[in-house]
Amino acid sequence: MTTVRIQGLGKRYGSTIALDDLDLEIGVGVTGLLGPNGAGKTTLLRCLATALAPDRGRVEAYGLDPAAAAQRTALRRRLGYLPQDPGLYPNFSAAALLDYVAVLKEMTDARRRRAEVRRVLEEVGLTDRASVKVRKLSGGMRQRLGLAQALLGEPDLLILDEPTVGLDPEQRMLFRALISRLGETRTVLLSTHQTEDVGALCERVVVMRQGRAVYDGTPRGLAEQAEGQVWLSAEAPDGNRMYWRNADGEFRTLGAQPPNGTPARPSIEDGYLMLLGPEIAAGVVAR
């Protein structure tokens, strides 16, 4: 079921085109956004989160159009947003900060608010840090606190901008479990640079470049973009090729078969790199 429709979305910052006539439909489940820096991922998420007005185009989420003030407010009641840099108040305790955000989310009943704050702290594993001031939390804990404020009010639409930054592997695992569970009944849209997160979490992935979607499909489909183009070899290939050394000491090459190269099963990362094409390859080889 489509819950979010994006039609002809455009946004420009001066001479820089951030979103270029983007069309997208998103439904319940977890959708990942991949793309290089400057592709427009954060701009898209901010437009969806109603934090930024697009220059043109139309967004509709759960039947609500944020261009109309009343519907924008109604949409904000149903969404949770974690920006790249939440800018949390350093002198507030974790619980006090969540309480503040809960009031902003119109939870004016004290009992309900306290229960909700306890619930989200438990979801992100910060119950024992409830009274600790934000400035004393580690980077990973602040990221989890940011996620917690997005979860307040059980939003239908969750928009997460690089939510796994700063999380250690154990925290990332907990995060994946949480998002997977939420994705069963909610629309979750997250942007990430971690292709492993996409593979682990997302039923659908959209790859963006220069404000447009260049791929929209399953993670397996993205990996298959590199089918027959991934090779392993014991020695470094010669010539202009994109390759790197993996943890097993083997050289993984993308593109034409190197001498003594054996085919390898492509990963999502391989497919992403093949999709973004020669410009990335040229950049890697030049270095």
Binding site: G10, A51, G57, R58, P86, G87, A96, V103
Partner: protein, 218 residues
């Protein structure tokens, strides 16, 4: 009680913690020092008037720092932006106004009332202080960075620099009893109205009136 009223009451406490009070405390100190000569020498109305003007500018500069909100994500909650911004304005300006009134009372206690016309001096003080708050509020529509923080004092500096271009006979800073006092304060009251309107507009939603639809020649 409506949701908005309940929210307003619940938000006062957190906003009091969020607003930076160190600049306000520094401003109170500077303002008191500025009035010290006036209190010491009540026969010099010039020092009283200038002390009150300086106090208004400094208190307004300190209050403008309250418009900086590093938690930009708050813009996506259902609470309207105008409510959050006006709460900040009120929490910052009410103490500033109270301090200024106390300073006026101290200066006026030893001076003849006609030397310190309250209404006109209030207009001046309100404009000087609001210029900072409006500057910061306008800048806050574009982000919450260092620029936002200094936009308030910059706006005050710009306003005062503009008045420096006026010739002496049209000075914006006459002393009570000067020939141009009445005319100058007509302009001060007009400026106050303009600033209040600007503050109302600046504290509103950051959303354009109209967004072009897909396919509409965009």
């Amino acid at each position: 009680m409506s949701v908005r009223w309940r929210q307003t009451l619940l938000l006062i406490g957190p906003v009091l913690r969020i607003v930076p009070w160190v600049p306000v405390a520094a401003a109170v100190l500077v303002s008191a020092l500025a009035l010290l000569p006036a209190v010491a020498d009540a026969q010099a109305p010039a020092s009283q008037v200038w002390g009150l003007r300086i106090a208004a500018v400094v208190l307004g500069a300190a209050a403008s720092f309250a418009m900086v909100d590093p938690m930009a994500l708050l813009s996506v909650t259902p609470t309207p932006r105008w409510l959050r911004q006006w709460l900040r304005v009120t929490v910052a300006l009410v103490p500033a106004a109270a301090v200024w009134c106390c300073l006026y009372a101290a200066a006026a206690s030893s001076a003849a009332p006609q030397r310190l016309p309250l209404g006109d001096l209030v207009a001046e003080a309100a404009v000087c202080a609001l210029a900072g708050v409006v500057g910061a509020a306008v800048a806050a529509r574009g982000g919450h960075s260092l620029t936002t923080a200094v936009a308030g004092p910059a706006a005050q500096g710009g306003l005062m620099a503009a008045t420096l271009f006026l010739p002496a006979s049209y000075s914006a800073w006459p002393l009570p009893g000067a020939a141009q006092w009445e005319t100058a304060h007509d302009w001060w009251w007009a400026a106050l109205v303009v600033l209040v309107v600007a503050l109302v507009a600046a504290n509103g939603e950051v959303w354009p009136w109209r967004v072009r639809r897909a396919g509409a020649g965009g």
